[in-house]
Amino acid sequence: MPTNAKAAVIVFPGSNCDRDMKVALQAAMGGDVIMHWHGDADLPDVDLIAVPGGFSYGDYLRSGAMAANSPVMQSVVARAGRGVPVLGVCNGFQILTEAGLLPGALMRNAGINFVCKDVTLRIDNAATVFTRQYQEGQVIRIPVAHHDGNYFADDETLDRLEGEGRVAFRYCNPTGAVTREANPNGSRRNIAGILNKTGNVLGMMPHPERLADAALGGTDGKPMFDGLIEAIAA
């Protein structure tokens, strides 16, 4: 669907999913996507910001900690505050938590190992700009590839997130049951993705951009990009 929507992917030293993100967004938009270097604080006026996966700054200090203090992040935080949708995937999720746009933290996987496999996710909230083309309770297959994806927040924060419908995705088994076995990294309450209070910032560990084209073996991630573009073009 060609639109006039404009999107930017933020590129950090060590990002490695930035081009996949660009391809997925372009397929949904039919237009060009701005690749914006993190060192440039002057972020163009865009309708959507994607913070991609990778290993920004080699995960020095903590995953996402250095990138969260990059010059561009002040602009990203300001735009998020004005309601611009911000999607953070994997390292992008880590960066958004470190930048304070999302609560909690992503810790080392409970099993210590780097986890790289397809997982199944349950859509917990389908009433967001990111998930509008999914159904609540729908089970989708999306790959994960991370070492630090173990979502942690205190009980009070988790209760608040759940109470406000801010858990977007949970790790589940193929039938949609949220079980300990289906949790690849020890995330509290099987949380795979969360929203900010106003619903325009989503952080998630799984990679929807990696399954957004039949040529990649699946299209379960595609509705996220189609829905986002539909939402911002509306």
């Binding site: 200090l61 903590r62 900690a65 203090n69 938590t97 470190e98 609560p103 909690g104 933290a105 810790m107 080392r108 996987n109 409970a110 099993g111 210590i112 173990n150 942690f152 927040a153 020890g186």
Partner: protein, 81 residues
């Protein structure tokens, strides 16, 4: 002045790396290790000559970057030299 910063996980926060180290120690035959918690040690060399100001500055650094206070505690030690 020099500042020595220890960053440790808050109690109640699971430490998978500490647990793995504990298991490794056990398999090496070191018995009697009840628990292992892993953290970070950071040394800073500062221009500041006033210990109180140095401590305040380093604590600010901890809050803004060196520690993630969602999951970590920090402690700061200021030393001459």
């Amino acid at each position: 002045m020099k500042a020595k910063v220890h960053v440790t996980l808050k109690s109640g926060v699971l430490d998978p790396q500490g647990k793995a180290v504990g298991h490794a120690l056990e398999s090496l035959g070191f018995s009697g290790v009840n628990d292992v918690r892993q953290g970070k040690y950071i040394e800073l060399d500062l221009n500041e000559t006033d210990a109180d100001k140095a401590r305040a500055a380093v604590e600010d650094m901890c809050r803004q970057l060196l520690a993630n206070t969602v999951i970590e505690n920090y402690s700061v030690e200021i030393a001459e030299g």
